[in-house]
């Protein structure tokens, strides 16, 4: 009996080895077929991201609708619906040659008229960020069905970074033209050019996509179906990964405390690439109307009092990288590491506070600040708790105030009724789109979330920001962006704490899920399942 068992075991071992060898030699050869079940959280309110850029919409929508371009890990544009493009020397004319043989899901041909309609009527008028991104776009000319020429009143170098399937989706003109776009039924059942077609959406339950058999990229997509499940509880999402019911999820789908255990099982990949396009960064906003925070030395002191490494390692389980300034290091084309830095040094912090004229008074306290944090989960709350502790050590008494998201946004961006808030921003692929809004005095706008809430206003900063918007020469523009980062770090109206590293959790069965800087916002046409 025993010998039989050991014989069997030996045979099994040999078979496994063979199987491993076989799969290794075929590692590059995608096998078509299968269903990818993934989580999307929270449930998207609609399935078109052309005029609502909320994260979960991007995850679902980009499988069905496409943009002109996509971007690699270094944000270099790559063709999608546009096969090639040419920017004129003055930067005011951009000619796109569109892909031939692309059809909408309803069988109609995709043409330059769709691009013209999307740019002028959708991106420029209805997209939350589009109004500023495409502000200088005056017309889209369509000399042929597959040529679209963008005409700009001034060069807008950042525009070329905003043409992804998430940020600027091409919509079918024949479905949307002349309708109330915000309430068009196609928003819940998209008609796109993408590799997948919506089959069913049961609100609160799941979204089911099926392969587009007429996709322009022949032989793709590899997957037959994508099931996107809505699982609101983070611990239940972990369980669904463990049982194998769910194979993939983006934007850190499970509690950070579960990641190590899941990784140790050997069944999952934890991928932190694929968020370069968003470049999220965690920061503190100081209200410069506050009589203490007005003083630059106080802001510098706060920077010295916080141990960024500890925040990243302990509170965020290592899913981050201490930031050195407003532009995250993943934006390799724009990042400037040569800026004023504030090493963790509580003694220096205390000296600066003394110098500013706020000595320790009764009970060793200098003054009190109220801290509001963005209520996106336990990690955000724990960060606030750490800040209270760290600033308490240098004599700043911090009171933490909690509220839900709507109340937080109204307090900070409409009522401006806060001292110090912790928050996170998407820096996005170009500083003109994502970073300038925090520092530009013209962007002090009541009622607009993620605008300049600190009330920071510096004519020199404004000049540099405005020059960056229209500077077409790469080198000159880079110099402007470099000086902007130095100025931001010296004035410090906001303190960038760390670059957030979202992760995509994927079963090892799922192959090629992160091939570009767009990560889970890419079309998934090349994703395949190992048998």
């Amino acid at each position: 009996m025993n010998s039989l068992m050991s014989l069997l075991r030996g045979a099994l071992g040999a078979l496994t080895t063979l199987a491993v060898l076989a799969s290794a030699s075929h590692a590059q050869q995608p096998t078509p077929g299968g269903t990818l079940t993934m989580v999307v959280q929270p449930e998207p309110p609609t399935l078109v991201s052309a005029f609502n850029s909320a994260g979960p919409i991007g995850v679902v929508s980009t499988k069905m609708l496409e943009g002109l371009l996509t971007y690699d890990f270094d944000m270099v544009p790559k063709p999608v619906l546009a096969e090639s493009w040419k920017v004129s020397p003055d930067g005011k004319t951009i000619t796109f040659n569109l892909r031939k043989g692309v059809k909408w899901h309803d069988g109609r041909d995709f043409t330059s008229a769709d691009v013209q309609f999307s740019a002028m009527k959708v991106w420029k008028e209805l997209h939350p960020r589009g109004r500023s991104t495409f502000a200088k776009l005056t017309a889209v000319e369509t000399p042929g069905p597959l040529v679209a020429i963008f005409k700009l009143s001034e060069a807008s170098p950042y525009m070329m970074s905003a043409l992804s399937g998430y940020e600027s989706q091409v919509l079918p003109k024949h479905v949307y033209d002349g309708t109330d776009m915000a309430q068009n039924p196609a928003n819940g059942k998209p008609v796109g050019t993408g590799p997948f077609i919506l089959k069913e959406w049961q609100k609160g339950n799941f979204i089911l996509l099926e392969k587009n058999p007429n996709y322009w990229d022949k032989g793709r997509p590899y997957l037959d179906k994508i099931v996107m499940r809505i699982i609101p509880d983070a611990a239940a999402r972990s369980a669904a990964f463990e049982t194998g019911e769910v194979l993939l999820g983006g934007f850190s789908p499970v509690p950070l405390s579960d990641v190590k255990r899941l990784e140790a099982s050997g069944k999952f990949d934890v991928e932190t690439r694929g968020y370069e396009y968003l470049a999220p960064i965690f920061l503190l906003e100081f209200n410069l109307k506050n009589k203490y925070l007005q003083d630059k030395r106080v802001r510098h002191a706060i920077a010295h009092a916080i141990d960024q490494n500890l925040v990243v390692k302990t509170v965020w389980y290592g899913f981050g990288k201490p930031a050195t300034g407003p532009v995250p290091s993943v934006l390799t084309q724009f990042y400037n590491g040569n800026v004023p830095k504030y090493a963790f040094d509580p003694k220096r912090a205390e000296a600066l506070l003394d110098e500013a004229g706020f000595p320790r008074a009764g009970g060793g306290k200098r003054f009190k600040l109220i801290h509001d944090y963005l209520p996106y989960g336990a990690d955000y709350q724990r960060t606030a708790e750490y800040l209270k502790q760290a600033l308490g050590k240098v004599g700043i008494d911090v009171e933490i105030r909690s509220q839900d998201t709507a109340a937080f946004l109204k307090r900070v961006y409409t009522d401006n009724d806060f001292d110090m808030s912790s928050n996170f921003f998407y820096a996005l692929p170009d500083p003109t789109i994502g970073v300038q809004r925090i520092y530009w005095s013209k962007n002090i706008k009541k009622g607009v979330p993620f605008s300049n809430a600190s009330g920071y206003s510096n004519p020199e900063m404004d000049r540099v920001i405005e020059a960056t918007q229209v500077e077409h020469d790469r080198k000159a523009r880079r110099a402007l962006i470099d000086s902007m980062q130095v100025m931001a770090q010296d004035d410090l109206p906001v303190l960038d704490l760390f670059e957030v590293r979202f992760f995509t959790l994927a079963s090892k069965k799922v192959q090629d899920h992160t091939l570009s800087g767009e990560g889970v916002y890419s079309s998934f046409s090349k994703v395949w399942l190992k048998k």
Binding site: R129, D233, L409, K410, S451
Partner: protein, 344 residues
């Protein structure tokens, strides 16, 4: 010459008609009385929601990661949030008067169809859970009462208390860990296997398999209530004189328990059942969240954070109507169970 049965019928018929008429009149009266109550609730809910800082546009724009001021202003106009509160309230009440629950701008759907789409899942979960809890609660309560102060009673009471005191979400997660992750017997969440294209019998089995864990989790919580209530109620009735009479007549313990005591002890249970049916639409946010069950509780819960006031008001209004209806039905049931109770 009329037969005996005919006499009985002719005697019964007016009586029967009178009873029906009386109940009909009662229903009309109760429903008329309910209208101002429901209206009051609607106004109160509306004003209460105004107290929450921030609105749906703040949330949408926050999720979008920023927007231009023109975009924000346009959204407010489209959602009607730029109007003064009295105007918004007037519009809302006018809509409700025509049985129109309004439009959810967040979901891009009329509120009524949104609620209808979630109703089946809610009813399935709640009916299953309350059904199990009621039946098992009666059985356990009777068992405990018949074995009062004996080990069986103690065991039932301890189990009931534990089930009541343990947080629902924790029980849910533990059941998932045991039955889904370790034993792999049941799915960890959702309502059906998506993309499997099941139909008929297979679909039913699939939904049942998905139902087991959430229903049992929720039932465990209610079960404790029913068991405790049933036990107390049985013990109270056991103490009454007619039970002693029944025993004196020589009725066996089982006959006493089931024939004489049970029916009278059921009255408080019906009250409890009525209360819970009234809260049916609210579903159970925790169970729905843990198991990803697409019910109304979660819809309402999320509507709070999304400041989707039209949707939330719609769910609250329907819930209040259901409470009113459930109360009327419970009153009718009382009269049926205990003829001494008169309907007014």
């Amino acid at each position: 010459m009329p037969s005996v049965s005919a006499i009985r019928r002719s005697h019964d018929e007016p009586c029967y008609t009178r009873a029906v008429l009386r109940i009909a009149r009662l229903l009309v009266r109760r429903f008329l009385r309910a209208i101002p109550i429901v209206l009051g609730i609607a106004v109160f809910n509306f004003l209460l929601l105004q107290l929450a800082p921030g609105d749906a546009v703040d949330v949408l724009v926050g999720e979008a990661g920023g927007a231009t001021p023109e975009y924000v202003a346009e959204l407010r106009t489209r959602f009607g949030l730029d109007q003064p509160v009295p105007v918004q309230l007037g519009r809302y009440l006018a809509n409700v008067a025509t049985l129109d629950l309004g439009y959810s701008f967040r979901h891009n759907m009329p509120v009524a169809s949104l609620i209808l789409s979630r109703l089946p899942a809610t009813l399935l979960l709640m009916a299953g859970a309350i059904g199990i809890a009621f039946t098992a609660g009666v059985l356990l309560g009777v068992t405990a009462a018949r074995n009062v102060r004996r080990p069986l009673d103690a065991i039932v009471s301890v189990v009931a208390l534990l089930a009541y005191a343990t947080p629902v979400f924790w029980i849910g997660l533990m059941l998932i860990l045991l039955f889904s992750v370790h034993l792999q017997w049941l799915p960890s969440g959702g309502m059906l296997t998506v993309g499997a294209d099941l139909a008929g019998w297979d679909l039913m089995v699939d939904v049942l398999r998905h139902m087991v864990l959430p229903t049992v989790t929720l039932a465990l919580f209610y079960l404790a209530l029913y068991t405790r209530l049933m036990r107390a109620s049985m013990l109270e009735v056991y103490g009454q004189d007619y039970v002693t009479t029944a025993r004196a007549k020589g009725a066996g313990e089982s006959r006493v328990a089931f024939h004489h005591v049970l029916r009278n002890a059921l009255l408080p249970m019906v009250t409890m059942l009525g209360l819970q049916v009234g809260s049916l639409l609210g579903g159970s946010v925790l169970v729905e969240t843990v198991f990803g069950w697409p019910g109304l509780g979660r819809l309402a819960f999320e509507a709070v954070f999304q400041r989707d006031h039209n949707l939330l008001l719609g769910i609250l209004l329907l819930s209040s109507v259901l409470v009113v209806v459930a109360n009327i039905v419970v009153d009718l049931l009382y009269a049926r169970l205990d003829p001494r109770i008169e309907l007014t």
